[in-house]
């Protein structure tokens, strides 16, 4: 029995317990299906705890996300939750932004401050995104309750400066799935922005992309999740092939194990997500992001056990 449970990972150079990896994949896949995030910001640190080298953990996770987001995108596509037009525009911007981000990292490394800036960017981004989403959805939930109670429709919102700006941009087009009309410059520009941040932070960018779609593109939450997964799928195909050819850090056996777990998780997640209300989804994702932010802040503030570290990774 013991024989079947352990598997040697040739690229990671270590053996792992199959069940532990399947379980990990399932848990992260569940989150991925519910929230439309790749889950890289959770998976990579957990794999490192299991004795996988950081670079192999990150690359194999990208490979795994390819499968998980395929499964997730399929599930959301059937539910009519994927805005392909929007996804492609964001992707186009994201690829451009990613290349810019990689150059920025190079310059920062030469200046010698890259690690510091990466960590600070992480904590600030996570804190800002998580905090804003948390407060915003809390307020929305309170309002919704009040409205139910008084049985009055909410007062029509005044058009904000941001909305005016959106409407005045050229190249307006309809995004039917999302039910919005928007200049195609917006998703392109925001895609670039997220791409830059994601490349600097070394993550897929799902947890930045989701709030951007909700708050800046004003897409409905359920379409956001499906579209985000669709976009992540292509980003991770690109990352996997690049990591495999340039750094030889993709452990396919590890990725496949994680994938089996996470694909099932993602399917279940998509169904749970459908049942939960949009505001509940937002507040849960916000809490998750905040937890990760506090963990990172803690790591920055508390003296590490060992004052030396291997090279590679960030």
């Amino acid at each position: 029995m013991n024989l079947a449970m352990n598997l040697y990972l040739p690229i990671a150079g270590n053996s792992v317990n199959c069940l532990a990896i399947l379980g990990l994949g399932g848990a992260v896949g569940l989150l991925s299906g519910i929230f439309g995030v790749g889950g890289g910001f959770l998976m990579t640190p957990l794999l490192m705890m299991m004795g996988i080298p950081p670079t192999v953990a990150a690359s194999s996770d990208s490979n795994q996300i390819v499968g998980a987001s395929t499964s997730g995108t399929l599930a959301h596509f059937r539910l009519g939750n994927v805005d392909i037009k929007m996804g492609l525009l964001l992707l186009l911007g994201g690829v451009g932004g990613g290349s810019i981000g990689v150059q920025i990292i190079k310059i920062l490394r030469e200046m010698g401050n890259a690690d510091f800036l990466i960590s600070i960017t992480y904590v600030l981004m996570l804190g800002f995104v998580g905090g804003y989403m948390f407060i915003e959805s809390l307020q929305a939930m309170k309002k919704a309750k009040m409205n139910d109670f008084i049985a009055h429709p909410p007062p029509p919102k005044k058009e904000s400066v941001y909305a005016k700006m959106l409407n005045s941009l050229p190249m307006q087009m309809d995004f039917q799935r999302s039910g919005i009309r928007l200049s195609l410059l917006m998703p392109l520009f925001l895609g670039v922005l997220v791409g830059i941040l994601a490349a600097i932070m070394g993550v897929g960018g799902g947890f930045i992309m989701v709030p951007v779609m909700v708050y800046l593109l004003r897409m409905p939450m359920h379409v956001v999740v499906g579209t985000s997964l669709f976009q992540i799928l292509f980003t991770c195909v690109n990352v996997t092939i690049m990591q495999a050819t340039q750094n030889h850090t993709v452990d396919f056996v590890l990725a496949l194990l994680l994938l089996i777990g996470s694909s099932f998780g993602a399917q279940v997640g998509a169904k749970i997500g459908k049942k939960l209300g949009g505001e509940h989804l937002k507040i849960l994702l916000a809490s998750l992001v905040l937890v990760v932010m506090f963990k990172m802040l803690y790591d920055l503030l508390v003296r590490p056990d060992v004052l030396l570290a291997y090279m590679g990774g960030h």
Partner: protein, 262 residues
């Protein structure tokens, strides 16, 4: 020519001053005679799909009455590490790099008695012996940290450095000799490569005999094929990895769909 002269002088000193020789380099001391052949079982470490570390058995014969130290060690290489330190008196960051010389990637020691009881003779074969002779250079911002100590902590946390007692069993003295059997626990994270296995007999606070053999750890079967493709045909490997991931994702998605329909 000068080099040879130094070597000659060094050898002369070593042979002329036996007690000093024992602590400095035990294998060169005149009191140390070869134990004869030592053997390992298995003779090579095969890293296959089910590899989860192994127990390596080391057998040999040593002079009667001696205690044993057995060590498995990788070839010493240069190692570059990052040093962490406080920035602005608040945040722990990587602040510089350290280049260490002659650090073996693996260092596993076991003994028939607590190593402290074996005294100075065993020191060169211990982790502390490695730490005492560690040479390193710092780049970037420097802070005072105990580099050898931190290195041992880092390596021990991955299981590739380990020092313990009780894995070496000694046979009874017979005709001025005794046999020993050592069981070294090899972790699954052992990198493929060539390793040195040493058996050191310690008697009356001095090294009585030493013997060395080598053992190879290599990937076999599925891990070997996959690793070959990953390194030699990396583009194919990357594309294959993504295609299989996409197909698996679709298949699992479809299975779920048909289940959901019932």
């Amino acid at each position: 020519m000068k080099k040879y002269l130094y070597v000659f002088l060094l050898l002369f000193l070593l042979t002329a001053l036996p007690p000093l020789a024992l602590t400095a380099s035990a294998s060169a001391g005149p009191a140390a005679t070869a134990t004869g052949e030592i053997s390992t079982s298995p003779a090579t470490i095969a890293i296959g799909a089910q590899f989860n570390g192994i127990t390596l058995e080391v057998n040999g014969t040593v002079p009667a009455g001696s205690e044993m130290v057995v060590r498995l060690m990788g070839a010493p290489t240069e190692l570059h590490l990052r040093q962490k330190g406080k920035v602005f008196g608040l945040l722990w960051m990587n602040i510089g790099q350290i280049a260490l010389k002659d650090v073996p990637n693996v260092f596993l020691v076991d003994a028939s008695r607590p190593l402290d009881e074996l005294g100075k003779a065993a020191l060169p074969y211990r982790l502390q012996g490695l730490a005492d002779n560690l040479e390193y250079e710092k780049n970037g911002q420097t802070r005072e940290i105990d580099v050898p100590h931190e290195l041992l902590m880092l390596k021990e946390s991955t299981g590739l450095y380990n020092e313990k007692t009780g894995g070496v069993k000694l046979g009874p003295d017979e005709g001025g000799k005794r046999t020993f059997t050592a069981e070294l626990t090899i972790p699954s994270s052992l990198p493929p490569g060539e390793y040195k296995v040493e058996a050191i007999a310690v008697k009356d606070g001095a090294v009585a005999a030493t013997s060395v053999t080598s053992i190879k750890a290599e990937l076999v079967g599925f891990p070997k094929s996959l690793s070959d493709i990953a390194f030699n045909r990396s583009l194919f490997y990357g594309i294959m990895a993504t295609v299989i991931a996409i197909v698996s994702g679709l298949v699992i998605g479809l299975i779920f769909q048909s289940k959901g329909a019932h």
